[in-house]
């Protein structure tokens, strides 16, 4: 809780610093604040304030682990922002403040125990993002991303609310435990509850961009500023999954909802991977691949067991690390090619910047799930979970789709390692170099020592 308050205050402070025009001190302060929050989370100080949190939130190990991860992601992205915003002076404070506010929402999402809090947290996280997506003020595409995100997000919120309302109608409570107990007691017979659960889950499925609620994600990913795309792909996704799993963790899902979710998983896997096959725009490729990874994560989500949170956590963290690194690489090539975001700009990278190319390869291999990268272990554990749960066909599909996934990642690797005589000279700032190296090493390190990434 203290971390949450620290973060909120940090956001306000950043805002005021922006008003005061203290542009140069913004990032140091923000990083310091985040480190402070992380320290509080790690130390476990003031986790729960009974007056505030009783019945609303609980900072159990699950919430704590995810909160730490979320803060770390934000921290990495802020470090990335040092370079990303090095030439920009206007509105940086607002953008950073909004990111912090969204982080507050995300942290709450990881620890809620009440549907009301969940709804509020989702909105607290989403509303800043609607704005951030349009953060590039003079870019039409950024604006388009913003409005698409907003419209679809609000629309989905409507369904989400309907769902919570129906659940409330059925069990007269917003309390997660009560709802879960109700699911076990009367879930199968209660149509009202069934509908409520369906719509609630739809709302969350929108946040994780599962088919058919994925339409926003490619457009928004592509149009948003890269930093924000990375933010969505890491913090938002992680928080959404944390919340999602928290909702159904102890819930005995009605058979129909369960079947629907499996179908949704299958569709997500199919669509995300197959469409990504034809993408040449790197951000869009990552957007579709994000949908694809949503599919794998949902497969894990649907396989309840003592290890599921661990697997989810591991998957999300390693996935986020890989994508952060790749987004940084993207900005590097984008700059060198004056705004081109297609994978063709990767060509010749091995010649001009071998280390970047190798790290890119590691990150992509991790996303693809090739052994000795964390991505492999993540997928492996997901498959293990889902087969333990007995989803033979869905797992089979997932495995097949993992293969499709390998194809489009490998295409990118191929580009990076194809010699190009007039390859663009890449300039890599020190911070970015350190960051991508960190990501690259991390995905290998966590593959060898996955126990370091346990909840």
């Amino acid at each position: 809780m203290s971390a949450l308050i620290l973060l909120s205050v940090l956001g306000v402070v950043l805002m005021f610093m922006g008003l005061r025009g203290m542009r140069d001190k913004l990032l140091p302060v923000a990083v310091a604040g985040l480190l402070g929050a992380l320290a509080l989370l790690v130390a476990g100080r003031g986790l729960e304030w009974p007056v505030l949190t009783d019945g609303m939130m609980r900072f159990d190990g699950y919430a704590l682990g995810f909160s730490r991860a979320l803060v770390v992601f934000t921290l990495l992205l802020f470090l990335f922002a040092i370079d990303y915003y090095s030439k920009v002076r206007e509105n940086v404070a607002e953008i950073l403040a909004l990111m912090i506010f969204a982080l507050v929402g995300a942290v709450v999402m990881a620890g809620y125990t009440n549907l009301l809090v969940l709804f509020l947290a989702v909105e607290v996280m989403s509303i800043p993002l609607y704005i951030l997506a349009g953060g590039k003020r003079d870019s039409l595409r950024s604006g388009e991303a913003s409005i698409k995100y907003f419209l679809q997000g609000s629309f989905a919120s409507g369904f989400f609310l309907l769902g919570i309302a129906l659940v409330y109608g059925s069990c007269a409570s917003f309390d997660l435990a009560t709802v879960q107990a109700h699911a076990a007691a009367a879930g199968a017979d209660d149509r009202l509850f069934l509908l409520g659960l369906f719509f609630t889950i739809s709302g969350l499925a929108f946040k994780v961009a599962a088919v058919p609620f994925h339409f926003w994600s490619p457009d928004v990913y592509e149009g948003s500023p890269t930093l924000i795309t990375a933010y969505m792909n890491t913090v938002v996704k992680t928080a959404a999954f944390a919340a999602f799993y928290r909702l159904i963790e102890h819930m005995q899902l009605p058979f129909a909802v369960h079947a629907m979710l499996l179908l949704m998983t299958a569709c997500t896997l199919l669509l995300g991977n197959l469409v990504a096959l034809r993408q040449t725009h790197f951000k869009r490729l990552l957007a579709y691949s994000a949908i694809a990874h949503t599919g794998f994560l949902m497969l894990a989500l649907l396989s309840p067991g003592p290890r599921t949170p661990d697997v989810l956590y591991y998957y999300l963290v390693t996935y986020a690390l890989a994508t952060v690194g790749l987004f940084i690489v993207l900005t590097i090539t984008k700059r060198a090619s004056r705004g081109d975001e297609h994978i063709r700009t990767f060509r010749g990278m091995f010649r001009t910047a071998p280390w970047v190319a190798i790290v890119t390869m590691l990150l992509l291999l991790s996303l693809a799930g090739i052994p000795l990268t964390a991505g492999f272990l993540a997928k492996y554990r997901v498959f293990m979970l889902s087969l333990e749960a007995g989803y033979l066909w869905t797992t089979g599909l997932a495995v097949l789709m993992a293969l499709v996934g390998i194809y489009y990642y490998v295409i990118v690797i191929r580009e990076a390692f194809t010699p190009q005589p007039d390859a663009l000279p890449l300039r890599v700032s020190t911070v970015n170099w350190v960051l991508i190296s960190l990501c690259g090493i991390a995905v290998v390190l966590f593959a060898v020592m996955p126990q370091w990434l346990a909840l």
Partner: protein, 477 residues
């Protein structure tokens, strides 16, 4: 701990090569490393007491059935020896085909070697899988960077197609691992005893990877193109060693885990293998590129080996495993000669050759000796394996044996035709080429010596596989 050395020597050398990039001495260093590995492997062989030797066992991630446990039995040792023997020659071939960035090439080759050792040493299924997939990556880059025409699409196609099997294998392995009582060790696979219905479908999940890797008809689509495009050393790795991973996988994973499934599909697989063997042998006749010819010939040989494995009896198993070594030696020599010819004529297309014996009598003799092994004349290594396989197949079905035996005719047809097109006939092109030199002799003579020695006295190798094969058969319901 000696086994760990096998992993470490190539790995460390490769990393050093990557970092230090010594252009001139890269080949020499790599060669030294592979020879050191060979020495280690020979030490392992000398000290091999039989049974299964556990070299190293470290709990790594017991929660997901992943242990770092290394070991070997006779079959594993055979594969280790095969790898160790093959790699010095593969590196040596690099002196002929001088690729750019020799340090990188050799580093990639050594990484491959390391991962291959891993595959053959792994005593944990997941570890096996990890190494199995990893071994593909250096080869991918080798093809991508140093391949010939159309390498970009062909490389990716090869990679994806191989991984199609890999993913199926992953699925199958995970399915096995979530069964109660599985601790992830290779031995435990043999104790699974899944229901027959499950085994029938699980078989394909496990087998597909190896079927593609080997490759078995009709999963061989990737092979001819890849062999044509890849740099010679890459093809050598693929054909001589990586292909054997397929056989090893069948023996170590498929047969123990799903014996009933294997039995259920036995006919299908044998028929596919043999149809492929005959089919490839027929097609090989019309190939105009030596490498494509080798691709089909390799497929033809592999078809017989795979049929031997699935004969699921002692002769078939030992024959197929012996043949694995024989085939490695054969294909190394064939490819080396192709490389030597390409070095001299600038192509591996047979249309641009002919009458070369006039110019290169020594190479012609060496080639002839290799061809003799290729058409499995007795007293050459290939014959031993094939004879055993034929005997194994006989116990399954006589007509299948007949099919397998026809390959000795078809093999002779295309092999001799190829030899004629390359070496014999009038000196059409008047190429100014030099005859086989010291390097060529250093590579080819030992290879031929191995085939002859083991062809006349296969005892030491057969001894290695005899015991494990019996153990494997005892799993048979």
């Amino acid at each position: 701990m000696t086994a760990l050395l096998l992993l470490l020597i190539p790995f460390v050398t490769a990393t050093l090569l990557m970092v230090l990039r010594p252009t001139e001495r890269a080949r020499g260093i790599a060669l030294g490393s592979t020879l050191a590995s060979l020495a280690v492997a020979l030490v392992l062989w000398a000290g091999f007491p039989g049974g299964t030797v556990t070299d190293l066992h470290t709990a790594w991630l017991p929660s997901i059935a992943l242990d770092f446990s290394l070991g070997h039995d006779g079959i594993g040792l055979l594969m280790l020896l095969l790898t160790s023997v093959a790699f010095p020659f593969i590196i040596g071939a690099g002196y002929g085909e001088r690729l750019r960035h020799p340090s990188l090439v050799n580093a990639l080759l050594l990484y491959t070697q390391c991962f291959l050792y891993g595959v053959f040493l792994a005593q944990n299924v997941v570890l096996f899988y990890i190494f199995y997939e990893l071994s593909l990556i250096p080869v991918f880059f080798l093809l991508l960077y140093w391949g010939g025409e159309h390498r970009r699409s062909i490389t990716v196609r090869f990679f994806i197609y191989t991984l199609l099997g890999g993913m199926a294998l992953l699925f199958g392995i995970v399915y096995c691992l979530v069964q109660p009582g599985m601790d992830g060790s290779m031995d435990a696979l043999g104790r699974l005893q899944l229901p027959v219905g499950t085994q029938t479908w699980l078989f394909w999940a496990l087998f597909l990877a190896f079927a593609i890797k080997l490759p078995i008809f009709p999963f061989h689509g990737w092979q001819p193109d890849t062999y044509t495009v890849a740099p010679m050393q890459g093809v050598m790795v693929l054909a001589a060693v990586m292909l054997k991973m397929g056989l090893y996988g069948v023996v170590k994973v498929v047969l123990p885990a799903v014996p009933d499934g294997a039995l259920y599909w036995q006919r299908t697989v044998i028929v596919l293998s043999l149809v492929g063997a005959v089919y490839a042998a027929i097609i090989a006749l019309r190939q105009h590129d030596l490498r494509r010819l080798i691709a089909y010939s390799s497929m033809s040989h592999v078809g017989v080996m795979c049929a031997g494995l699935f004969a699921w009896n002692h002769f078939g198993l030992t024959g197929a495993l012996f043949q694995a070594l024989a085939h490695a030696v054969l294909v190394l020599a064939m490819l080396y000669i192709t490389g030597a010819l390409k070095e001299r004529t600038g192509t591996s297309g047979m249309g641009a050759m002919g009458g070369l014996k006039l110019r290169m009598p020594r190479l012609a003799v060496l080639f002839m000796l290799v061809v003799m092994n290729g058409i499995s004349l007795p007293l050459f290594q290939s014959f031993v394996g094939e004879w055993l396989v034929f005997n194994g197949l006989w116990e399954v079905d006589r007509w299948l044996t007949f099919m397998a035996v026809t390959t000795i005719v078809l093999g002779a047809i295309y092999m001799l035709y190829a030899y004629q097109r390359v070496m014999l006939g009038p000196d059409k092109w008047q190429l100014e080429v030099h005859d086989a030199g010291l390097r060529d002799h250093l590579v080819l003579v030992p290879l031929i010596a191995i085939t002859l020695v083991l062809g006349a006295y296969p005892g030491p190798i057969l001894e290695l596989v005899d015991g494990p094969a019996l153990t494997l058969l005892s799993l048979f319901p």
